[in-house]
Symmetry: C2
């Protein structure tokens, strides 16, 4: 008996003397049976060594419990930590994740999305920047994006504006003579642009002089180091003996800059204050622990999955409930003061 490979509903029906309909109800709507009958069937499943085949169940009720994820890469710690936290929501929600690495290639990502749709995913989480939100919205599927252009779809983002204010505010309170912000040239419709706006507003409010360095510095260590060496040179010439407060758009950049200073001077000179963004491990584990604006990645991941499941459940109702407008959730960042701003 235990030798049979695929135990069918027929087998279970015969074994329990219930009808096949009753067995089917046990799997799809168990509460429609008495507790006693549920127990009889549960026992039969053990006796028959029944193995659940979710693929077959999907065909019955159309619910795969799959969520697709398109993520640019896992090299940047921000992405790998986010994926870690998203996958871990399985414990709360039971949804499974099909993951694709997009590498920011638009055509590749379109192909991945098509593949995900063929597997009947119930929703999609997008962390990549390539495909416009209008095109995503047209897929007619529950979608949540994280930190990307989100006009037409639901999203969860850090309050980047508040983060920019917190960083510049801390540097201002430490009586820096000049505030500097180093960032890529973000498009205005990307959430991260808020960091620049927050920085600028605080500079204007405090009437402190400031300078923006906005340029693409590449995604590998060598190219970043080269660009940051140039910026260091420029700052040393232009602002000699002035107290420089520098806000970096991420901790990786802040750490490379810190290392350049330490290799030059043996330690962080008194006239430099540094603050990063993200609270990634590199900020805590740097030679001199780096102050930063912490993103609450666990919270962002949880809210993204919840917001997606809310949409999924809305569609499953007898009278489907669709959102009238995309929902945008904003998560508060946390200022973390460490040695690069608070000397000991």
């Amino acid at each position: 008996m235990g030798k049979k490979n695929n135990v069918t509903f027929d087998d279970i029906a015969k074994y329990t003397n219930f009808s096949k309909t009753t067995i089917s109800r046990y799997f799809n709507n168990p509460d429609s049976l008495t507790l006693e009958n549920q127990e009889v069937i549960a026992k039969a499943l053990v006796d028959l060594n029944y193995k659940e085949n979710k693929v077959a169940r999907i065909l019955a009720n159309g619910q795969t419990e799959f969520i697709g994820i398109i993520i640019p890469n896992l090299f940047l710690h921000y992405y790998s930590e986010m994926l870690d936290k998203i996958l871990s929501t399985y414990e709360q929600f039971g949804y499974k994740f099909l993951v694709f690495i997009g590498n920011e290639k638009e055509e590749t990502e379109r192909r991945y999305i098509k593949e995900l749709l063929a597997y009947k995913i119930e929703g999609l989480i997008v962390l990549s920047h390539t495909i416009p939100s209008e095109e995503l919205a047209a897929l007619g599927l529950p979608i949540v994006t994280i930190e990307r252009e989100d006009r037409w779809v639901c999203s969860v983002n850090t309050d980047n504006y508040m983060g920019g204010c917190q960083a510049a505010g801390l540097l201002a309170r430490h009586h820096c003579d000049i505030l500097i912000h180093i960032n890529s040239s973000s498009a205005r419709n990307v959430p991260a642009y808020g960091r620049i706006q927050g920085f600028l507003d605080i500079c204007k409010e405090t009437k402190l002089p400031y300078e923006l360095f906005l340029k693409e510095m590449g995604n590998n260590h060598e190219s970043l180091k080269e660009h940051l060496t140039d910026i260091l040179c420029a700052l040393e010439q232009k602002y000699t003996d002035r107290k420089k407060g520098i806000f970096f758009s991420n901790d990786t950049h802040a750490n490379i800059f810190l290392n350049l200073l330490v290799r030059k001077y043996g330690s962080l000179p008194e006239d430099y204050l540094i603050i990063g963004f993200d609270n990634s491990p590199v900020s805590r584990e740097a030679l001199i622990p780096i102050s930063t604006i912490g993103q609450q990645i666990d919270k962002i991941a949880y809210e993204a999955v919840s917001l997606l499941i809310e949409q999924i459940n809305g569609r499953k109702k007898r009278r489907p409930v669709l959102l009238k407008e995309p929902v945008h959730k904003v998560i508060t960042p946390v200022l973390l003061k460490r040695e690069t701003t608070e000397r000991i």
Copy 2:
């Protein structure tokens, strides 16, 4: 016409005047049709706005093209890079990945494997250490493990013994007075134990004095820093003025130790040589670039997926071919000399 949600084989058959069997053959064995008929059906699919439903196809041929992955976490860069490379093999092989983060909890991981089996995965890649290979083998499913106890299942591992020899050999060639290896207390049946063995064999061969520090130092930065501070103290007392060659079991530990030295002395003292393991980004991006034994993660990932698919294909043959013995593939590590051993 384009409005209909689910285009069935019936619809396609009617539209093309072929039988349903012909349509089915188009999807499951297209080469059994003439090229001309294939084209007629392909055109009909476009006209009818047919969307492939792979879930339905799975039921027809039993092939989900799913591979399950159990990975301990994505915090350690070794794991996130490995996952990145495994997921990227989709481009070559077309298999999709269902990913679970196990967090090294045995019962949780058993639950995840059960869930993966319910989704009819065709194979499983395991990077976690909790479940013995004998239990994995009993699942009766193609399996490949990476860097874990692998007596009863196929595996792909770095040649850890060679790595240990390379590291100790480099330190010996630099005329160190004492060779030191810092590692956790690895069990002998785990592949990484080879690093210790390789180190010991070179020490004996060169007749150089050596010391092993084998202990659990925890998985977070604070605890690692505390343990490594203790080791630094011990080394400073015991081996004053002697040239110390230190081989760390991973780059993260090597980097923390390097930072302790730089904070104490402003730079890396002449009497310390340091080499890590993995070639993770932290080794390249450290204040002083760290020499290391590079793991070829892209190759390991590729070989793991190939070895798994070989097993999967073997089972699909009309006369299924099962492996008589587990296959263990070994990938050569690469010695990378940087500033912590080659002063400039």
